[in-house]
């Protein structure tokens, strides 16, 4: 199963977004491992990720994460999408980045 990995400041608020993404994945009949972690844990969870999404709180880390994982798709979640807890759009972005 593919891993969709989100990083934000502490992994807390993004946990709610993850729940919305899981609901949307279930609605689409897709099976993914979707998880959120704090940026400090990126070394532990980044290597297994199939796609990495960064919350707006850690957008500044995009160049560094891209450098660490040059062969993985890495993207940021924009402020509006994050603020609306729009799990549907974030999941669609993740799937597109994985070529699905």
């Amino acid at each position: 199963m593919k891993n969709i990995t989100l990083f934000c400041a502490g992994g807390m608020s993004t946990g709610l977004l993850v729940k919305k993404m899981r609901d949307e994945a279930a609605r689409l009949g897709k099976e993914y491992n979707i998880n959120a972690y704090g940026l400090a844990e990126s070394d532990s969870y980044g290597p297994q990720a199939d796609v990495i999404l960064l919350g707006p709180q850690v957008r500044y880390a995009l160049p560094k994460i891209k450098e660490s994982y040059p062969n993985k798709p890495v993207e940021t979640i924009d402020m509006r999408t994050y603020g609306m807890m729009d799990g549907k759009t974030v999941l669609a972005t993740a799937m597109k980045l994985m070529g699905e």
């Binding site: 934000c8 709180q57 957008r59 500044y60 402020m79 994050y82 603020g83 807890m85």
Partner: protein
């Protein structure tokens, strides 16, 4: 009540998104200034301040609600949003100082 809770959750998330963006911009501003890229640093500070004001306004809206006795019970997500707001505010003050400092360093 259920609608009200959902409303509070949404406002909390919007505050986190706005001030989180602000905080990220401020850090990016310091990084850009450290490289001597001051146009980028100034642009990041400007974007950060705009995002911060959005989050601050959303928070002020909650304070108005509270004053009118319309505020749902406080929860951990709103506490987290306020924590992020304070962190962003502090980063904004520091980013301003850091950019000024780097400008002096690079002009020597």
């Amino acid at each position: 009540m259920a609608d009200e809770m959902e409303g509070l959750e949404l406002v909390s998330f919007q505050i986190i998104a706005s001030v989180g963006t602000a905080r990220s911009c401020y850090i990016a501003a310091i990084d850009a200034a450290a490289e001597g890229n001051f146009d980028e640093a100034d642009a990041q500070i400007k974007e950060g301040k705009e995002a911060f004001i959005q989050g601050h306004d959303d928070h002020a809206g909650l304070l108005t609600k509270m004053a009118n006795g319309e505020m749902p019970p406080m929860d951990l997500l709103l506490t987290h949003a306020e924590d992020q707001l304070m962190s962003a505010e502090a980063f904004g003050i520091l980013a301003d100082r850091f950019v000024t400092l780097y400008k002096k360093v690079y002009s020597k």
